[in-house]
Symmetry: C2
Subunit: 409 residues, 2 copies
């Protein structure tokens, strides 16, 4: 059973679950080289107020811990109205009184409207419905942005460079919100079925967004990169020939005549784990990395990275969950060597070995996932059960029970 150590009522009708670090069953394996030496300092957060943050190594100094709280408090402030105001919640909140500025800079359309009495403006009365759920999503999105700004401010004072992916979970009013910015992944395993709760953001999955930016703001590419993608590098002697290409609008490939500009290095290059943005970074969303540049150049990577997560929502009240139904969060170190089905099978196998109310069972499932993805040290390095190489990246795993004894009702 999940040890929900304390249940805090911030306001009537708003209940936050506190998950302690132990209760969320997070297990982390730091990355290491073939000789077993730890390569970096993989760290895992289990923040309070129902939010868990797992992060890739080097990127996540312990000094960021306070930022976790910033993140969750931002979420909190954004959702205050959910409980307190019955629908419709206010679209507009009172703010600091400001002296109205002079009219000279106002757009003609706005001016024309301002001259009319209110009741003559039907467009003012059109109000878009805003769901409670979308307020929580907006609060989480803004929390990531604020976190990123805080990292930018503090990177000098705390001497912290680098960046990290972020995968966060918020539980609120019967719904689980999974927010992902990076190449970590979350799945729900429910009655053996796998429900994806995130998708990875990599140079390949975000190719069109990055190409669109490079196309509209070519100055961000320096004079080194082209926003077009080709199936391979082009040689100078191929000028004038026709080559397959893709631009920001295309999902398919078509031919174009090779021009001088096409000889530049592609903005996106490489495949799978080797795909890179401007030959530098293999992930396209996350926090930090404000000073990252292309090697030996003054070209900044940050404009191409987004700190905004994609938030997916799972309604816990729509299904009666059993003690074996879990949410699994893992960094790419897990998913590089273990697919969804294998993760589900390991979790099911481990949970079956324990009583449903044994609090160790989720920790042991997370532990087993980490150990299996790391492999065993042999003569030829760390090897998995199938003799393939074990994961060389950091491996952080959470296994969070969704039901069973002590459920959410």
């Amino acid at each position: 059973m999940l040890e929900r150590a304390s249940t805090m009522r911030i306001k009537p009708a708003v209940r936050w679950w506190w998950w302690t670090g132990d209760a969320v069953r997070g297990v982390t394996q730091c990355p290491r080289n073939a000789q077993g030496k730890r390569r970096g300092a993989g760290r895992t957060f289990a923040s309070t107020i129902g939010a868990c943050l797992t992060a890739t190594p080097a990127a996540v100094p312990l000094s960021w811990h306070p930022s976790c709280f910033t993140f969750t408090s931002a979420t909190c402030s954004g959702t205050w109205w959910i409980s307190y105001r019955t629908p419709p919640h206010p679209l507009c909140l009172p703010g600091i009184a400001r002296e109205l500025p002079a009219e000279r800079n106002r757009a003609p359309l706005a001016q024309a409207h301002a001259e009319l009495p209110n009741d003559a403006l039907p467009r003012f009365h059109l109000e878009k419905a805003v769901s409670h759920e979308s307020l929580v999503i907006g609060a989480i999105e803004n929390a990531f942005k604020r976190m990123d700004e805080q990292i930018e401010r503090e990177r000098m004072t705390r001497l912290v460079a680098g960046g990290c992916c972020a995968l966060a979970v918020v539980y609120l009013l019967g719904k689980v919100y999974v927010a992902n910015a990076g190449d970590s992944r979350a799945i729900i395993i429910r009655n053996g079925e796998i429900i994806p709760m995130s998708r990875e953001f990599t140079p390949e999955t975000e190719r069109q967004r990055l190409q669109f930016l490079g196309f509209l703001r070519p100055e961000l590419l320096g004079n080194e990169f082209t926003h077009l993608e080709f199936p391979r590098r082009i040689q100078h002697k191929e000028l004038g020939k026709k080559m397959l290409y893709r631009d920001q609008n295309m999902n398919g490939w078509a031919y174009k005549r090779i021009e001088e500009d096409d000889l530049k290095f592609p903005l996106i290059y490489g495949e799978g784990k080797k795909a890179r943005v401007m030959a530098t970074i293999g992930v396209t969303r996350g926090l930090g990395d404000h000073d990252l540049k292309v090697y030996n150049s003054n070209i900044h990577i940050k404009p191409f990275l987004s700190c905004v997560p994609e938030v997916r929502v799972y309604d816990l009240t729509q299904y009666e969950h059993c003690p074996d139904d879990v949410l699994v969060l893992g960094t790419d170190g897990l998913w590089d060597v273990t697919n969804d089905r294998e993760v589900a099978d390991v979790v099911t196998e481990v949970l079956m070995g324990y009583e449903p109310n044994d609090p160790c069972r989720y920790t042991m499932a997370a532990y087993e996932l980490v150990v299996r993805s790391r492999g065993v040290l042999k003569e030829r390095g760390w090897r998995l059960a199938n003799d393939k190489l074990g994961s060389g990246d950091d491996i952080s795993v959470f296994v969070i029970p969704l039901g069973g004894p002590g459920n959410y009702t």
Copy 2:
């Protein structure tokens, strides 16, 4: 049974199906006002070489018919290699010999590579796999772009303004490619099950793309519009208060303090059928509209419209289709008043009334869909069976059989 009037072998192993206008069972109802007068000249294309193009009214003069052939011939040229070259097809084609230009403009990275012998550059050897399917998709995407360019060139010589949505189907080597740019829609009805083959592109579904463009290129908004979205228009007296908003990165809503710039008219405004880009157009992809401007201004709409379709692929060989399995294409005039399930029910009901090999059955299904969506003229205007208003937009419908007698093998 479908009258596939002729089967043309352009090259050995490449078989194109010719669908005649009759064979694709296209039925069009021109838009009309409540008195039954036709409002515009809704026209429907059934182009050769397996491509069907339905278009919204006013937008599609008959003079565009030749463009249809351009569209399909572009597809043809793009897929030539599919049959002729066994995999791997060439990434690079021979082109017109060009004198190599001076090196002075070349990027440093490219220069460095050019100085090395070929076999010292492993990156030149990395080749991305390009599937046959993605070549067809790329050819269709480029065909739409070329069509749009042709319309731009010919709008002066042929005195044709305006624009249209485009929904096209290409059948090639056992696969159906459905390309959509606009708010038409295609579904497959297979054994009663509905398979969506397109999604609509409207100011609401493409909000983030449009906002991203407005954010990066604010000059495109004149001084009239803001790229931010608010749930309602803001009044001048609300300056300094906090209002819910969404920017190009957000799916949820959060609060921001209202500033002077937020008083401008929103780039995207309105909901559902009333949503508009810059208070002007209700659809965000299509062909033409090169001269469209915001009313009484010099602000162009075209930069926000995309002519690039989304292409979905359906593999006909993966399933044995019966004579009742069909692909239905319809303009928004159909879908505004009839949902997917209702369309499937009407098609099934009509088809059951005819022998499986009766060539009329598909035409009658399309006819029935158009008539039901138009409604019946009553005292209070055109009314549907449920007494709601009939569709006021143009209604074009194709019902294309996928199997049965005379199937594709």
